[in-house]
């Protein structure tokens, strides 16, 4: 349980016709098991680039991404990814999508199906095993995406705005679902969002990003997620004046940044 995923003084630049684009500038993050790190910021502030680097889809121009001191050399099953668009495999049933990572590992059919069923039940999709992806709603697809990442039992979950496209009610359900998963599994989670409320509620550490160049302009530590994990309801937490103060504090940080920019 002591594993740590870090980004250490990471820079990422892209060549473009109008000169070099600084997608990320001197970003450092550390995600231990049990941490819930949320990245908040406007579009184009480099949050997704950071996730892509942590996942190993891309490599930093300077600095390093490492797991327990070992530099990350590419994607790996220790870092599960949940995508913004569901990125599911439409030719597979819900169950086979969830079992996909286990199929790759060559695990026997009976065992992988049993494990996939367990995870599907965990995300509230028991009974939908044999449905095709085209037969289920957007919110359910996101749960399947989450279940697929969970089934491979990664140490970290990297979530790229997985709740962005959902309607308000489904989104709240998904927030508590992700918090439940976090509480029950103790995984390290890195989540990207546009929503201040979501960020404050779910994070143990909140990173506020500002664009051009993408960098971290403020960090906060909150205990709302831990309070949820200890049994307090999300509704009661959101009604706490401390929660409102935290939200306005984050908003202040963001507004300050745009004034300077």
């Amino acid at each position: 349980m002591s594993s740590t995923l870090i980004a250490h003084q990471v820079h990422k630049t892209y060549p473009s016709p109008r000169g070099t684009v600084h997608a990320l500038e001197n970003v450092s993050v550390s995600i231990r098991q049990g941490d819930f790190v949320v990245a908040l910021g406007a579009s184009g502030c480099g949050k997704s680039t950071l996730l892509s680097l942590l996942a190993g889809f891309q490599f930093p121009s300077a600095g390093r991404i490492a797991v327990d001191g070992q530099v990350v050399s590419g994607p790996g099953a220790d870092r599960g990814v949940v995508f913004q668009d569901d990125a599911l495999f439409p030719w597979l049933s819900v169950l086979d999508n969830v079992a996909f990572g286990l199929t790759l590992q060559g695990i026997s059919k009976a065992e992988k199906q049993a494990r996939a069923r367990t995870v599907l039940a965990q995300v509230g999709l028991a009974g939908f095993e044999q449905h095709r992806i085209s037969e289920i709603s957007g919110g359910m697809r996101q749960r399947v995406g989450l279940a697929r990442a969970l089934a491979a039992n990664p140490s970290w979950l990297l979530m790229d705005e997985p709740l962005g496209a959902l309607d308000a009610l489904t989104r709240e359900q998904m927030q508590t679902l992700v918090l439940d998963v976090w509480r029950d599994t103790g995984k390290g989670i890195f989540l990207i969002t546009h929503s201040i409320e979501e960020a404050v509620l779910m994070s143990t550490e909140l990173l506020i990003f500002s664009p051009r160049p993408g960098r971290i302009v403020a960090r906060h530590e909150y205990d709302f997620a831990r309070r949820y994990a200890n049994g307090e309801s999300a509704r009661s937490i959101k009604q706490d004046p401390a929660f409102a103060i935290a939200k306005s504090q984050v908003l202040d940080d963001i507004i300050q940044q745009t004034e300077y920019a």
Binding site: A77, G80, A87, F100, L158
Partner: protein
């Protein structure tokens, strides 16, 4: 089905009243489809009737246009006794063998070639100029060369059809591979997929709809090429039968042969559509 239900033209049509209940909309859709089927059947029947009338009243001499009934009888005769001692089945078999052999050869070469083109810039660099050079050439233009090189036997014709099938199939496969979304690849990689597993479990199934569409186009092209080749250089096959009959002005055999050729094309197309619906059901539903 959902695509059909969302077709806006259905709502714009003043003759289709707005219905809120999905089931009754579905029922109406089925009625709408069967109306199309009825009209299509009527069209065919009208053509058949016109043909029959023209022959009954002797507008066109029998030798140029035999009656539908004569063609139908000849078809039965062809099946039983054949034309010039070769039965319809033998001709059919010859034609189907040629396209079958060419198709088999194309499947094991064009699909891998398409994968190579879709996955590697080197692959595209090697194959693209070759395919784009020969693809626009009508196959019959290089049939004489094939006959010079490979003789008048089966090989030259199988190769000719093979070339006709290869290009559309390889290009469709390559474009299917090229359209596999990055997030899908990344999802598999982050679940621990090796390069080979990525190909087997993500790239191939993602490209399958395009491969099957390419196959439909390719088989259509292959079938027309085959029949044309048989008209020119063959000793049996449906195209040859039609050609030989035309030399003796046996018009009913010519027309019967054309109808058989058309039926085979239709069966191939419908068979592939069924295969497509069976193998890639998600294609019409997402």
């Amino acid at each position: 089905m959902s695509i059909l239900l969302e077709d806006p033209s259905l709502y714009e049509n003043p003759h289709v009243p707005q219905v809120s209940d999905e089931r009754s909309l579905l029922a109406r859709l089925q009625a709408f489809l069967s109306i199309k089927a009825v009209v299509s059947s009527l069209t065919l029947l009208t053509v058949l009737a016109a043909w029959w009338l023209v022959t009954v009243f002797g507008v066109i001499p029998d030798i140029l246009l035999p009656s539908p009934w004569a063609v139908f009888k000849r078809l039965g005769d062809l099946a039983r006794n054949g034309f010039m001692d070769v039965t319809l089945w033998a001709h059919l078999q010859a034609s189907l063998f040629r396209i079958g052999a060419a198709l088999g050869l194309a499947l094991v070469t064009a699909v891998p070639a398409g994968l190579f083109m879709g996955l590697s810039r080197v692959g595209r660099g090697i194959l693209d100029p070759l395919i784009e050079f020969y693809r626009p050439i009508p196959p019959l233009a290089y049939l004489p060369l094939m006959v010079i090189w490979f003789g008048i036997g089966e090989l030259s014709k199988v190769l000719l059809i093979y070339f006709a099938i290869f290009a559309p199939l390889a290009i469709a496969t390559a474009s299917g591979v090229g359209r596999v979304s990055d997030t899908r690849r990344q999802a598999a990689l982050s679940l621990g997929a090796s390069r080979w597993q990525l190909l087997r479990h993500v790239v191939l199934p993602s490209a399958l709809p395009d491969v099957l569409t390419g196959l439909r186009i390719a088989l259509g092209a292959g079938w027309s090429t085959l029949v044309a080749a048989e008209l020119i250089a063959a000793t049996e096959g449906l195209g040859f039968m039609v050609h030989a009959a035309s030399k003796f002005l046996v018009t009913d055999v010519v027309i019967a042969g054309i109808l058989v050729i058309a039926s085979i094309a239709l069966v191939l197309e419908l068979g592939l559509r069924t295969l497509q619906a069976r193998l890639t059901p998600w294609q019409n539903e997402l």
